[in-house]
Every structure is written in C-alpha cells, then in structure tokens.
Amino acid sequence: MAWEPRLIVIACHWCTYAGADLAGSLRYSYPPTVHIVRVPCSGRVEPEFIAEALIRGADGVFIGGCHFGDCHYKEGNYKAIRRFNLFKRVATELGVEPDRIQLEWISGSEGKKFAESMTAFDAKIRELGPNPLKGGAQ
C-alpha cells in the first residue's frame, strides 16, 4: 500500500473546530488524512503534545486557534504563538523539519480557509515524505 500522510490537527473549540464544522456544512472538501483533536483553546497546546505526536507517528502537526483579539479566554492564542515559535526554534535546531509543524489562526466563519489550509498542509507533507522521527530519533 502506498504511503498516506497522517496529519494531526489540534483545533481550538471556539474557532478552528467551528471552522472545520462550517467547512463540512458548506460541503468544502479537504483531505481524509486529517485527524482533528479538539482542545478548549490553542493556549492548551503544550509543546509536548506536538513532539509526542511526531514521535508516535504523525507526519505533520497543525495547530489552529482564534485570531488575535478573538480568543474566548482572552490571551490563550498569544501564549500559543509564543510557545509554538520557541518550540519550533528548538525542534529545528534538534533536526526536526520545520515544515512539519504549523500554526494558523482560523475563525469559526472561515470554513473555506480551513479546507484550503488542510489541502495545502497535506500537499506540503506529501512533498516532505514520511516522518523519519517515528519511534524516536535514530
């Protein structure tokens, strides 16, 4: 069987998850390789979640949160971007391909943006190929 990417999308309940819902209601199609995990807020996403997903077989990890100023908990997405940027710096220095991880703000009304982001992310990961990190660094 040909390799199919496995993408983990960690979506905040109030914006990106609602955006995914809208994408479905509006019948926008996006790749079936996407596996959505709902979290209360993008500020809930620990860098450990991303690293563990990569070690345990995800080919890419996408985090979706609310636009600045829209966070249901006021500042969760500000925390998310700081953690994400710092994690990306460290992960890149340790040899992780930076394109495997992505952070995007997608609101509840952006169903189309959600579908497009997923399609683009899937294409990018297909270009990168399977994640060499599966099972730990060799």
């Binding site: 700081r82 953690r83 710096r89 340790l94 730990g136």
Partner: protein, 318 residues
C-alpha cells in the same frame, strides 16, 4: 536483623554526587552505621567489578547509580547492578535524565573525538591518533577500552525504582531520602523521591509568596548582563529561570545566590519532557513575541540537564 546492604556505582558522571553523599557529614555517620556498604566503585570503596559480579542476585538491598550510561562498560555494570539490587535508584540528574553530559547527544562520536583529540588549539597530535577499543602493546599485551555510545539515562537501560534529582542532589535532600529508605517510607516504585514542589514554591524571590502578583518579563537578559535586584523575581527581570518547572528539593539555592535556576532538580511531577515544559512555561511569561527570538541558544538552555530523556533524545543526524 542484619544491616541493609548498599551498593553505589558511578557510571558516566563527574563524582559530584559521591561528594554530595560525603557532604552529609554527621548524618552520614548515623546512616553509615546502619548500612553495610558492599560496593562503591570507582570512588569511595576499594571494590572490583568481579566482586560485584560474584554476589548472589538480589542480595543487595539498595543500589545507587549516579551518572548516565555512556559506554559499554557502564551498560554492563548497570545491568549487573540491576540483577544484584532489590531497589535501584537513579541518583542525581545524570542517571535520572542524562545530565549536563547528556548534551553530547547533540554531536556525533566522530565530531567529539575530532574536537578532543585533533582540532583543539592546544592539542599536539600530528599523527592524529584516536583512542581505540583495543590495542596490542609490544605485540603481546592486549589493552581494551569501552566503546562510546549515545548518552542515555539509567531507565533507558534497566528498570529504575526511584529517581533523585539534582546536580548534585542537595545534601539535606539526600539525608531525607536515606532516612525514608531506612524507615521504608517510600513512594510507589517508579517515582521521584521529592517533596513535589517547584523551586518557585520555595523561592524567597517569588512575588506570589509575598502577596504580590507576577508580572511578565519585558526583556531577555543573560547573567553576564549585570546582577539582578536583591529580592525581585529573576523571571520578571528577564533572567530565564527554570524554577517554575524544576523540583525544589534544593530549597532554591541558586536563585537566592542571584543565579537563575537551570533545572538540575529534574522535572516537577507529571512532566514527561522537561525541556518542552520549560519552553511552555518560559514562553508564556514573556511580554511579547519578539522576546521569544531573543532567547540565546534555547536548546542548551532548556535541555541543559535532560536532553537524553527528552522525546527526541538527541539531535537528528542526517
């Protein structure tokens, strides 16, 4: 009842943990009287590996291992220790998480040998001789050296019953750990011997303990950028202190001496990857996103003592 038997092995460490045990001073006298030290190599007691290998399996009550597992000799003796000891304790941050020497995992063995034996300015080695695992001297005497491996914490090689953090463990904490051992008041197997509080919770600089609220850091400073204030929180002042995620069994000794915590105490309970949790804690305490990019050398800062026990464990080599 006979005295409990104790064995101590220093693997890939510096001997600082051994010194910390000796630092118990009077407490050690009390403790040592209640213990039968059967093996302590290579530092304190004159014991040979073959003596340890000759002991019956499970005959030693408590085994302590300090230092990480870095070569074939460490791996072998650590496995022997596991066979002979009923309870095996990873003693100090190197055995628990890999330690500062675990940063070797950022480089290949070839790079390290090249640096140590050929490329350093002060090295005089025109024939480029490198250490070999075997060498025959005068055509008849075979000498051997262990082979190097990536640094690993003890629990990646054998099952570990307890962990003690610290570089080295603070002597009062060791005293408490020994007392707990002797009285049999130990937590469930597989856990850290710790009071379970972060460095911040015992830090005199913590504004929350003084009834004030914590402020965001508006700058990023290094310790060379001048001394911090006398009693303010180091993180608020921009010194990247890892106190929020580090076990405070040391009693917050470094912050009280103007030095930010570097995380040698090991992760607070519930943390799988110290460096990543530290990233999470520090990043969310910064005032704006630009500061994230000003943090110098984040890998060595956040993974200073815990790289081999992290999810990645080492730099990915391609």
């Amino acid at each position: 009842m006979s005295k409990p038997k104790l064995a101590y092995y220093l693997a890939g460490g510096c001997g600082g943990c051994d010194i910390a045990v000796v630092d118990l001073s009077e407490t050690l006298v009390d403790v040592a009287l209640q213990l039968d030290i059967v093996f302590w190599a290579p530092t304190v007691a004159d014991a040979k590996y073959k003596d340890l290998e000759a002991m019956p399996d499970g005959s030693i009550d408590v085994g302590l291992v300090s230092g990480n597992v870095r070569n074939s000799e460490h791996e072998h003796i650590v496995k022997v220790m596991r066979q002979k000891c009923k309870v095996l304790i990873a003693f100090g941050i190197c055995a628990s998480c890999g330690g500062i020497k675990g940063l070797v995992n950022l480089h290949t063995t070839e790079q390290l040998l090249d640096k140590a034996y050929i490329n350093t300015f002060s090295t005089d080695n025109p024939e480029k001789i490198l250490p070999q695992t075997t060498v025959v001297v005068d055509g008849k005497y075979e000498l051997t050296l262990p082979s190097l491996m990536d640094a690993r914490p003890l629990d990646q090689v054998v099952k570990v019953d307890y962990y003690v953090g610290g570089c080295p463990p603070y002597h009062e904490h060791i005293g408490k750990a020994f007392m707990a051992l002797l009285s049999g008041q130990l937590p469930p197997s597989g856990s850290w011997i710790t009071m379970g509080k972060a460095v911040c919770e015992v830090c005199n600089r913590n504004p929350v303990l003084q009834g004030k609220s914590k402020k965001f850091a508006t700058t990023v400073k290094r310790t060379i950028d001048g001394p911090p204030s006398e009693d303010g929180c180091l993180l608020e002042e921009g010194y990247l202190c890892l106190g929020p995620v580090t076990q405070g069994d040391c009693g917050s000794k470094c912050p009280s001496a103007n030095v930010p915590c570097r995380g040698c105490g090991g992760p607070i309970p519930g943390v799988k990857d110290f460096g990543l949790r530290a990233i999470s804690a520090i990043a969310s305490m910064l005032d704006n996103e630009e500061l994230v990019d000003q943090i110098p050398d984040p890998v060595h800062l956040f993974y200073r003592y815990t790289l081999p026990s992290s999810f990645l464990g080492k730099k990915i080599k391609r």
